[in-house]
Amino acid sequence: MEYTVFILALPLAMFLLLGLLDSKLKPRVAGILGTMGMTVCTALAYLTAYQFFTQPRNAEGVIPSQVPFNVEWLRFTEHLHIDLGIYLDPISVMMLVVITTVSLMVHIYSLGYMHGEKGFQRYYAFLSLFSMSMLGLVVATNIFQMYIFWELVGVSSFLLIGFYYTKPSAVAASKKAFIVTRFADLGFLIGILILSFFTKTFDFATLTANPTAIISESAGATFLGCSVASWALALIFMGGAGKSAMFPLHIWLPDAMEGPTPVSALIHAATMVVAGVYLVARLFPVYCVTPEVLDLITTVGAITALYAAIVACVQTDIKRVLAFSTISQIAFMIVALGVASDTNLHTGLGYMASMFHLFTHAMFKALLFLGAGAIIHAVHSNEMADMGGLRKYMPITHITFLIACLAIAGIPPFSGFFSKDEILTAVMEKSTFWGVWMTVVAGLTAFYMFRLYFRIFWWKDTDCSHHTPHEAPATMTLPLIFLALVTCVAGFIPFGELVSVNGEPYHIHLNWSVATTSIIVAVCAILLATWLYMKENKKPTAMANATRTLHTAAYRRFYIDEIYLFVTHKIIFGLISRPIAWFDRHIIDGTMDMFAHVTQWVSARIKGLQSGSIQAYVWILIVGTLLIATLTICYCL
């Protein structure tokens, strides 16, 4: 399957082509070129998936993973070397499909959405760069390759968020996104360093084949009461948490919505943000040897899920709502991974569930974003207040959006129901507490999604005197329709057959008690939303007023951003950087200058020696001589 190399090479070539030629290319040509490249890429990915999943299973019933391509890129030590290669196993192939699909949709969609924008060519170049990086990330054969592409997706994300670089908020958001994830990557890097030092390898295959290596190699080594292995894995998870916007590193994601909406769909909903989930899944066998880290992952995920869901309930910017919903959904996946305690098919159910949810979520969340994009395109605003009653003007968008909402709310038969159900089952099996917790979150999800839905499409009839919203062009609706279809059918894919924690096929069967509960909760939430938001009324305001403190806090995202702002500006800049800069200029540099000043000063003070008087000279001469004589007599004799 050597052709898989082209899945990476093609977008890279597109990036270089579009990036270097830039404005020398007509925007249209650039868009079409990029889309065609992506189309080929998608085709190749599907081909790969087909070939991969249809290949014979081995004796254990596992689909054997493959490394069709691997070259040594940089050698550090005898054991440690970065390879660049392609590693195909169920999850990476699954990811290939997800990424190429969503990316292609976004490419097509953008032809319409970005039409006439300044820097259209640049936009496609960046999209290609992102696709390449993301694809490279998922097929990485070793953790360092992953890190490389991890950084690259980070920078593509930075570039795309800052696409409207004249807009200060976009610039700030791009900076924030990059720096926060960079900070998380620091943890990732240190984690890699620790892990690789003890296991003497970066290679995923080797790492997962012998997951206990780190325990045996680092035997006894502890730091602050935790074993080195725990630290390493926790730090690696920190990297993942940063990319996947887990609490408290989530702050960049809502702001990242400053980028063009298709970009949000691609990067900040479907693909890049799940990199953290993917990372944990990739190293899952290793995580299994440190249950305390898995517990940490569960906790972080659960808190994030609830937090994001609550915040999402009160946001008024539709993209923000979607962003928090994304955070919350990713948290679901993370929790699922956290509760999967080993590689047994049943106790490790969470693994499969997580991947499944990743897959379905990518589709419907992309759909949501693209739909939101279409809406924004139509009304030129992100604010709910500017919307309402759009169902009449934008039927296709409306329907597809509704499908997506139902999917995310977990209403059967849409895909979200199946994957979320698996997650809740897995969580429930592990711990009832987290199970109930996550069910509540699922309810909240349904609530805020339908709040969003109703506020956009129902609520009131827009005043259309000056501007009539109209349905998006075909380039934009086609992807919507396609993704809606996928959302409808994806739940019936026998996902467990293909992806499971140990590779053996797993038959998904609904746990009806859990499923029923979640459906009931979701429906209740939807009804509540319907009651509140179907028609324009005063109830929401009244409720908000009734819970003013909570509402405001949630609206301000529980002041996490303010805390960050305080830490960065007041502490990092104000208490560290500025004092250091001052210290450098005045103390260190001052010391150096002081040498010069002291020299000058001494020089000025002793000028009197050279008084110009012969007799003074002679006096100094004779006294000098006598001193020399006396001192020498004292010291030498």
């Binding site: 000028k607 008087s613 012969i614 007799q615 004779i622």
Partner: protein, 103 residues
């Protein structure tokens, strides 16, 4: 020679350092020159005395004294020429007036 050598040496020391004192404290350059003569003269005594009391077999010290006297004369000649030169320029020979260049 009943008078011990050290007496002579002390005598020369007194003369020498009287010269030093004079050189440092006299304003008139000719008086500084006089002080120098005292110092040189003291050294001559030293040579002669050492020669006589310690190394009477040769006359290195005495000869040195003779040469020293000759050189002192040369020094004086040059010095007086320079003093006169100064007198031409500033109409006095006060050493304190020679401090235009300093620091």
């Amino acid at each position: 020679m009943e008078t011990p050598m050290i007496y002579y040496i002390v005598l020369s020391l007194v003369m020498f350092f009287a010269g030093v004192y004079g050189f440092i404290t006299r304003k008139n350059m000719l008086m500084m020159l006089i002080s120098i003569e005292l110092m040189l003269n003291a050294v001559d005594i030293n040579f002669a005395v050492f020669n006589r009391f310690l190394f009477p077999g040769q006359m290195e010290g005495m000869i040195f004294s003779i040469f020293a006297i000759a050189i002192a004369a040369a020094e004086t000649a040059i010095a007086i020429a320079i003093i006169i030169n100064i007198y031409r320029h500033i109409s006095n020979i006060d050493a304190d007036n020679l401090d235009d260049m300093k620091y």
